[in-house]
Each structure stands twice: as structure tokens, then as C-alpha cells.
Assembly symmetry: C2
Homo-oligomer: 286 residues x 2
């Protein structure tokens, strides 16, 4: 089995996540190839020294790869998993960076036996997107979830771990369905809340010019993730619908209860809920 240092790695999709990972892996592999949809992106990735070689032609890049990392939106990944196998070498590792894993795992299970699938989900990001925002340090000290399938051989998991380690991240092996349920509450629901809060402000206060002078850091932080890439988030929501709806339903019950206590001016139970929330937040982020 080849070590990562002797592997050619192809990153498909040179946005924030793919461009950053490519840049992080350069130097740890024999070569990092970047595949972009637009020639300008491929050229820019080369110029920014994020890849050794950039191209728009997957039929050129993928046959050379010992590992292919799909860094596109989730539903694009699912289409690519269907399309690329004929281009891949025997034993090629097929990884992805998609934020939802159950539907990708199902698509990976259909891959032909000559390639080795491994789901991936790095716990990092920014509210900016595109190759311009790429940053090779983005993955450093972050958790990088890996979701192997039953069919994934140990050596493919080992190569996946080497890729994670080379980016400076910490691997965490998780079941895809469990990861999707956790991500629904900890990532996808917060995104929907942030969007709804921005739209609420837009509907109520944005006509008042004073609003933008008084908007404080609390609003800025609470809504930060509403700036995320829309195509990426849309794919996430639509491929993790059930878990997102379940998390949203729990949220609504909790929120309605807080609003009910406020409406009734039920001071003691409202204080208890706010205290419990503060305590839990401090436990999460000491």
C-alpha cells in the first residue's frame, strides 16, 4: 500500500473547501491535481499555489489519481459518484467533503468494486465561498468526520486518515445516519434560524434607518451562517430533510415554551429555562 507521500490526489471542486484542502495537502503528496468547472478557477488555483496542476477536464486528472476527493455540493457529489468510476484506477480511494452523509453513503455503496469509498465531513467553513476565500489552514485543529462503509478496506481508511492528518485535522469515525442527525441540530438548524432571523429583520426593522446604526454584535454573530453558500446549503437541507425537520420540530416546541413563559410573564420558570440554557452553553464552550 502506498503512503500518502507517494499518492497523486485529485480534488474535484475548487471552492472554499476543496481549494483549502488542496492547498493543505500540497507538499504531503506526490501531486495535487485540481478539477474545476471553470477554466478561470483552475488557473487561479494554480496561481494561488493551491494545486500542482489545475484543469477542467476530469478525464485527464482522474485516471492519474490514487485518491479522489469530491468537494462539490452534496447532490453534485451523488451525480459524480455515478459518473466517474470508469475513469478511476483499481484501488482508488473515493472520498468526499459533503456535509450530509447518509445519501452519499447510499450512493457510495453502488460504486463498482475496483474503487474504495470513504465519506468525509470536515467541521469547518466560513461565511465566504469560492477559491478566493481558500485558506490551507482552514482544517487545522478541526474535527474531520470519516464515515467508512462496510465494504471500505482498512487501507482506504488509513489513507483517508493520512489525508485528514496532513490537513492538520482530527479524524472521527462516525456512522452516516448518526452524523446526519447530529449535524441537523448543530449545523443545519442553526443555518435555517439565522436565515429566518435575517428575513424577520428585513420584514420588520430594515425600513428604519436607525436599525443599521444600532445593530449590535449579538445579531451579527447569531446570523453569521446566513452568509453561507446557498447551493451548498440547499443541497444539505434537501439531502438531510428528515433529520432537519425533526430538529426543527424540537426547536419549535422549545421556542414556543420560552415565548409562552414570556407572554405569561412567568418569571420563575422563565428564569430557570434561561439559566439552564446559559449553563449548558458554558458547558459546551467553557
Amino acid at each position: 500500500v502506498k503512503p500518502l507521500s507517494e499518492c497523486t490526489v485529485a480534488v474535484v471542486g475548487l471552492g472554499l473547501m476543496g481549494g483549502s484542502l488542496a492547498g493543505a495537502l500540497r507538499g504531503s503528496c506526490r501531486a495535487v491535481l485540481g478539477v474545476a468547472r471553470r477554466p478561470g478557477t483552475a488557473a487561479r488555483a494554480e496561481r494561488l499555489r493551491l494545486v500542482d496542476q489545475g484543469t477542467t477536464d476530469e478525464t485527464l486528472a482522474l485516471p492519474q489519481a490514487d485518491a479522489v476527493i469530491l468537494a462539490t455540493p452534496v447532490r453534485t457529489i451523488i451525480r459524480q459518484l455515478d459518473r466517474i468510476p470508469p475513469l478511476l484506477r483499481r484501488g482508488c480511494l473515493v472520498m468526499d467533503l459533503g456535509s450530509t452523509k447518509a445519501q452519499i453513503a447510499a450512493a457510495m455503496a453502488q460504486l463498482p468494486p475496483h474503487v474504495h469509498p470513504l465519506g468525509g465531513h470536515p467541521m469547518c467553513g466560513k461565511e465566504t465561498s469560492g477559491i478566493e476565500a481558500a485558506d490551507p489552514t482552514l482544517y487545522r485543529n478541526r474535527t474531520f468526520i470519516l464515515t467508512p462503509l462496510d465494504r471500505t478496506p482498512d487501507e482506504a481508511v488509513t489513507l483517508g486518515r493520512s489525508i485528514v492528518a496532513a490537513a492538520g485535522a482530527r479524524p472521527l469515525i462516525l456512522d452516516p445516519i448518526r452524523q446526519d442527525r447530529l449535524a441537523a441540530t448543530l449545523s443545519h438548524l442553526p443555518y435555517l434560524l439565522a436565515c429566518a432571523l435575517v428575513l424577520t429583520a428585513d420584514a420588520t426593522t430594515s425600513k428604519d434607518p436607525a436599525a443599521w446604526e444600532i445593530v449590535a454584535s449579538g445579531f451579527r454573530d447569531t446570523t453569521r451562517v446566513a452568509g453561507s453558500n446557498v447551493t451548498m446549503m440547499l443541497d444539505i437541507l434537501l439531502t438531510n430533510r428528515e433529520a432537519v425537520l425533526e430538529a426543527a420540530s424540537t426547536f419549535r416546541t422549545v421556542f414556543d415554551e420560552l415565548i409562552g413563559l414570556t407572554s405569561d410573564a412567568s418569571e420563575a420558570p422563565l428564569r430557570a429555562s434561561l439559566k439552564a440554557s446559559r449553563k449548558e452553553r458554558r458547558r459546551m464552550f467553557p
Copy 2:
């Protein structure tokens, strides 16, 4: 009329907000006196050089003051406005830092004519609280809302503006009811959403040890304000109930619509809403 440099300023309540403002004003006034409930806090404020003199005895500090700044939770401010007038000099400015202004303005309207009321609401804060967290630079470059009453004389507004300027903040004159409505959407609703999100995570994922390894910066930022001081926030919610309930109701309509589109997998309108939210967020925070 005395300029601020010749004024003795008494700050009542030496938590994060009061302690920080006291520290910011020291040097710009004749003296900054600090009144705390606990002797330890008064002593600590002196030791941290946030005040020239700290005491627990308002009957000692307030009669010396040309300006009194109430930096306690909103409902405490309302009780203090009832209690302190006999201690105050003729012409004394009575300001506050409470986050809701309508009920405070109503209480200020009842002050005897020998003192001059001026509502205040600085747009800053931290998720930490207490004198330990005080920071004289907290107000720098922030908006500081001032809500004068009809009865407030110009010279009292001028002194209030000098206090704001000495702290490095920008004054913004606003009507109390208008400020409360804006703050409900831009500050109080985000707090309730953050609390409800933390409690949702607590109810669903916190039993899973993987949750705390994967929790990403999006969740951390979205929930930051849930760490705010509970007594302060409780007073805010209970003194701005109507505006908070109205903002929450608008939010629920918007959120339910996003969830409905997700549930129906209505791709085009869901994308349009997420795009509108992203665009608006970018307009707010370019």
C-alpha cells in the same frame, strides 16, 4: 453649566456595563464614584482602577454627583428611580444603561423636577458579566442610544453626549418606543433563539459524546448570546414583552415557511428565500 471635566459622576451597579463605563470615564471627569451592592465589588473596582472611589452606600455617593448613571438590570433601575431622588442634587443628570427604554422613560417622567432624566442604551456587551469582565474600551466606536424625555433640558442632553463621547461611543437620539421595537428584533429575539437552540441541542444530541467533538463554529456563533447575564435578560424580556412577542410572531411565520419549503422539497422557492437572506445579511454586514 459645568463641563464633564468638572463633574463628579456616580455609576450605580458595577457589573460589566457599569464597570466598563466607569473605567472609560475616569480621567474625563472630576471624579468617578462607583456604587456596588457588595463590598467586594466596590473594593475590586477601586483595585482595578475603574473608579476613583467605590462604596456600597448610595447615601454617601449620590449627594456628591452631578450625574448619576444607573447600570443595573432594567427592573432594578425602575425601583432606583423611585428611591434615589431625595439623595440627588438640584440639576443632577439621571442616566441609565438599560436595554429597554419605554418603561424606564415612563418611570423617569415621574422624577421630581429638580433632576434631569435621560435614557441611555449602549449597543455593546459581552457574553461574560461582572466587574472581572469590565473593559474601559467596551464602548469604543459603538452606537450609544439616548432617549431624552420632553422634559429633559438641552444642557442635560449635552452632558449625556459628553459622557457618551468620553467613552468613545457615538450618540444616537431615538424615541423610546421605536428603540424598543428595533431592539426586540435585533437583540432580544436573537437571545431567545440562541437559548432555544442550546436547549434543543441539550434535548436531542447532548447525550451523544460525538456531538461535542463535531460542534462547529456556526453553532458556537449562533448561540453566543445565550451566555448573557440571565437577570439582565429576564428584565429586558419582561419590560419589552409586547415588542418581543411581536418580533417572535413574525419570526415564527418566516421560519415555518422555510421549514415548509424544506419539507415539500420546493427547491426553487427555497433557494430564492435562502438567496434573499444571504443578500440581506451581506447588505447588513458588508
